[in-house]
């Protein structure tokens, strides 16, 4: 496995293949058995119709539902899109790490000194990503097929393979985008920009699918080509054209990345416009003291470091909020009629939609909370990066107590998260005033405060894990957030016991716009955050710092 760059890339990602592929495969394997018990009894057809009506009302978020009377149709419903998004996050992490991350660690300098062209180096790494994603795909397909063996409904192996291939190609697209952006930006910024692009394309696709006037937007989203291809749904089937577009799309992107890499300096960025600096008459090394506010202490530094990331995420989310709310009056009545006529929705514990708050909660906040949670996970990288990238050694040589450094950084992360949530809240407030949408202001404020608290718990959990193993913190917390979200989302569907669901932070968040913010739960979450941070401080104070 050390014979060339391609094989070495595969070797480096062997564990990731097992974790990501195995994890998703396990989830996939659980789908067929769960389908067995979902629509049963003499009213099966009625239940299916109700389910279709209900889920189609959320089509703006997860796409439309087809052929849910078959296992293939049920698998097609939401899973490809959700897992494509999850795997795309993996793809962009791998893409940014292999392109810019290796360069920032100085690894690319060494590789470039070997008799390999730059094109060969980058292409071998990209080919590595292709095979890594392919291996994950094989695991997912195996999980799905093994799950179907335990189900009374069968699944077509070829169609399942095409479905998984569809997901893998979408992930490869975003991984390849990261290769391109990595030529312009640092690894962290590459992850941010590519993640933002993923969120944007999701929105373009969802909105275009649900709002006729915005239908043209879909063609700009790779997720449209992912959604258009439904090999497991018999009434849609495989869309070879869409699959071809998805398969071909990464090729010009990787060609562009290679071209940019060949044109730029090693350890530098590709500049579209480079400023030329005048050469001073006499070379002097003295500079004025840069008395910037953000260099004053670790707290200010943490705030400044997160500002760009916060701005990108929150403006993206605010744009989504503004778009949804601007068409709110068009979709409101339709949504209320569909959902209220659904017995299944009621049986699953859904409250009758009569108010704007209920609809906004169902169409906006269900998405908002997971996106903000993902943002919170990314905030953790700001802290873990200092140790993982070798900066903590010098930072801790300064006369700052470890607890103070940790708390300053955590406070900075929580504050910037608050700024981000506040910015989105402001956009929300502005649009409901402009569009004259009647909502309870106190509950709206509560809903955003709840998002902030939710993010704080996620960040505190990240700091807690980082205090023990900083290298694992982001992956573990990211996994916990996904499990927690799926737990809350699917709890009614799978009739999970309350005590299990209560572990989900999203369950504790509740539906504050509908029911008001459950302050007891919020205080519990705040207490949990404080406990997490207290343990993190205790552990961080005494543990060895890795080099």
């Amino acid at each position: 496995m050390l014979r060339n760059i391609f094989l070495k890339t595969l070797r480096d990602y062997a564990r990731a293949i097992l974790i990501w592929g195995g994890g998703i495969a396990l989830l996939m394997a659980s789908i067929p058995p769960s389908y067995d018990g979902l629509f049963v009894g003499p009213t099966r057809n009625f239940q299916i119709r109700e389910f279709e009506k209900l889920t189609n009302s959320f089509a703006f978020l997860l796409g439309k539902i087809y052929d849910v009377d078959t296992l293939g149709g049920f698998v097609t419903y939401r899973y490809p899109l959700v897992f494509a998004a999850i795997l795309s996050i993996f793809g962009l992490i791998a893409g940014s790490g292999l392109s810019r991350g290796d360069e920032e660690r100085g690894l690319l300098d060494l590789l470039a000194s070997t008799p390999h062209s730059r094109a060969s180096i980058l292409l071998q790494k990209w080919a590595g990503v292709v095979v890594i994603l392919g291996a994950i795909g094989v695991l997912i397909w195996t999980g799905l097929m093994l799950g179907s063996l335990g189900s009374k409904y069968s699944l077509d192996g070829g169609a399942a393979a095409l479905t998984v291939l569809n997901i893998i190609l979408a992930a490869l697209f975003f991984g390849t985008v990261a290769f391109v952006i990595g030529q312009f930006q640092s690894r962290k910024a590459t992850m941010g920009w590519t993640g933002g692009l993923l969120a944007l394309t999701w929105l373009l696709n969802s909105l275009g699918d649900s709002v006729n006037a915005l239908g043209w937007l879909r063609y700009f989203s790779p997720l449209y080509y992912l959604s258009a291809n439904k090999p497991l749904a018999r009434s849609i089937g495989a869309n070879w054209g869409a699959l071809t577009v998805l398969a071909i799309a990464p090729l010009p992107l990787i060609a562009l990345a290679v071209w940019l890499y060949q044109k730029r300096d090693q350890n530098d960025f590709f500049y579209l416009f480079r400023r030329t600096k005048a050469i001073p008459a006499r070379l002097t090394y003295s500079v004025t003291e840069p008395k910037a506010w953000w260099l004053a202490n670790p707290f200010n530094f943490a705030v400044k470091s997160s500002l760009l990331l916060t701005f990108l995420w929150s403006t993206g989310i605010a744009a989504y909020v503004a778009t949804i709310m601007s068409v709110f009056n068009d979709i409101r009545d339709n949504l209320i009629n569909v959902i209220n006529s659904s017995d299944l929705y009621k049986n699953l514990g859904g409250a009758t939609l009569t108010s704007n708050e209920a609809v906004i909660s169902a169409v906006l906040f269900i998405f908002l909370i997971i996106v903000f949670a993902a943002y919170a996970v990314q905030q953790i990288t700001g802290w873990t990066g200092d140790e993982n990238e070798g900066r903590l050694e010098l930072l801790l040589s300064a006369p700052q107590p470890r607890w103070k450094l940790l708390l300053s950084r955590f406070a900075g992360a929580v504050l910037t998260t608050g700024l981000g949530v506040g910015l989105v809240g402001l956009a929300y407030a502005l649009i409901i005033i402009l569009a004259n949408i009647k909502v309870d202001p106190a509950r709206s404020i509560g809903a955003f405060v709840g998002v902030w608290i939710l993010c704080s718990v996620v960040e505190a959990a990240g700091y807690l894990i980082a205090a023990f193993r900083s290298g694992l913190a982001v992956a573990l917390v990211g996994g916990l957030v996904i499990v927690s979200y799926l737990l809350d989302l699917f709890a009614p569907l799978f009739k999970l016991p309350d005590w299990i669901v209560s572990f989900s932070v999203f369950h504790q968040y509740g539906r504050p716009l509908l029911d008001g913010l459950n302050w007891n739960a919020q205080f519990l979450l705040l207490g949990l955050s404080a406990a997490f941070i207290a343990v993190a401080v205790w552990r961080f104070r005494q543990r060895d710092i890795s080099k």
Binding site: Y285, S286, E393, L394, P399, D544
Partner: protein
């Protein structure tokens, strides 16, 4: 080469030790151990560095230099013993110690998108009051363009940023892990000047290095660590005074090698026969030279060659595993 068990009392000063009070030493390390579960780490290290001296810390890769330094800075917790800086405990008084220390790690990273000036300003704020004019003067002397971003610096320039951040607050103790690594010869010379200035101001320098000429030039005393244990502590003059001689004696006829090997201070005796002559090669401590010469004089000698090993050879001898011969 004789085996040597470092004596912490002797290790305290260039001459006789005036005190055993930990507060009288810039660095006082007592039975310091750090175990990682395997063979790595350090084992009962004892070391004392007097205020105002430049102390070299030597050893092969993986010997435990960085582990000792990191324990001193409380970046890792020792599994045994203690380390004190100016009488303060490295674990209990870690923050107070760091106010008095300037530290340069052997390997370090900084924020890639910050300029050199911004990086130094941030560390200046973390440390407290720093005279920016002094920062500028250090940058001028090391020829560091502080307007560039850290990621744009060459390895040597990154090292300069590290050196400046360690020196800029004029700490009473400088702890430097291979400080000249990556510096060009001109900047190395400038760095030695800085070290001498620091010493002239009564401040202490503790640094690890692999460059013997630099150690000989800058250090008052050195300690050698191997496999996590100190094998030698002494001042440079003492080490060179203890120099051994590599002897090659050529005799007309056969001589009993046992007569020479029985002499105290004679080591690594080899006996060969070349063109009918008997050749003895051995390593002889300076104080044993007289006895060897007198013993050799009892036989018909045709050639006598004596060579003093360089300081580097002395260190290499300490670096080698027991039983591992020079190549």
């Amino acid at each position: 080469m004789q085996t040597f068990v470092p004596n912490p009392a002797q290790a305290g000063a260039n001459g006789p030790v005036a005190s055993n009070n930990p507060a009288d030493f810039a660095i006082y390390i007592e039975n310091l151990s750090k175990s990682y579960g395997g063979s790595r780490g350090i084992n009962e290290v004892n070391l004392r560095v007097r205020p105002g001296e430049v102390f070299g810390f030597l050893g092969p890769n993986g010997a435990g230099k960085t582990t000792t330094i990191r324990a001193l800075l409380n970046l890792i917790a020792p599994t045994g013993g203690r380390a004190l800086v100016n009488g303060l405990d490295s674990q209990r008084d870690s923050v107070a110690i760091k106010k008095q220390i300037g530290y340069l790690p052997g390997e370090f990273a900084l924020y890639p998108n910050l300029t050199g000036a911004q990086t130094l300003e941030y560390f200046a704020n973390l440390r407290g009051k720093v005279d920016w004019q002094y920062v500028n003067s250090l940058a001028e002397r090391l020829e560091l363009d502080m307007r560039k971003k850290f990621r744009q610096y060459s390895r040597g320039n990154k090292q300069k940023v590290g050196i400046i951040q360690a020196l800029m607050h004029k700490p009473s103790l400088l702890v430097l892990d291979e400080p000249t690594s990556g510096l060009d010869p001109l900047n190395q010379q400038e760095f030695y000047k800085m070290v001498r200035e620091v010493q002239a101001e009564g401040r202490t320098v503790f640094f690890s290095s692999h460059i013997m000429s630099e150690v000989e030039k800058t250090c008052d005393r050195v300690a050698i660590i191997r496999d996590g244990r100190l094998v030698r502590i002494g001042d440079i003059a003492e080490l060179t005074g203890l120099r051994v001689h590599n002897l090659e004696l050529t005799f007309l006829g056969s001589v009993p090698a046992s007569e020479f090997s029985a002499l105290p201070g004679v080591d690594k005796l080899e006996q060969t026969s070349i063109e009918g002559h008997e050749v003895l090669r051995c390593v002889v401590r300076a104080d044993a030279l007289d006895a060897v010469v007198k013993t050799a004089a009892r036989y018909s000698i045709v050639n006598f060659v004596s060579r003093e090993p360089s300081l580097e050879e002395i260190f290499l001898d300490y670096y080698r595993e027991p039983g591992q011969e020079a190549k």
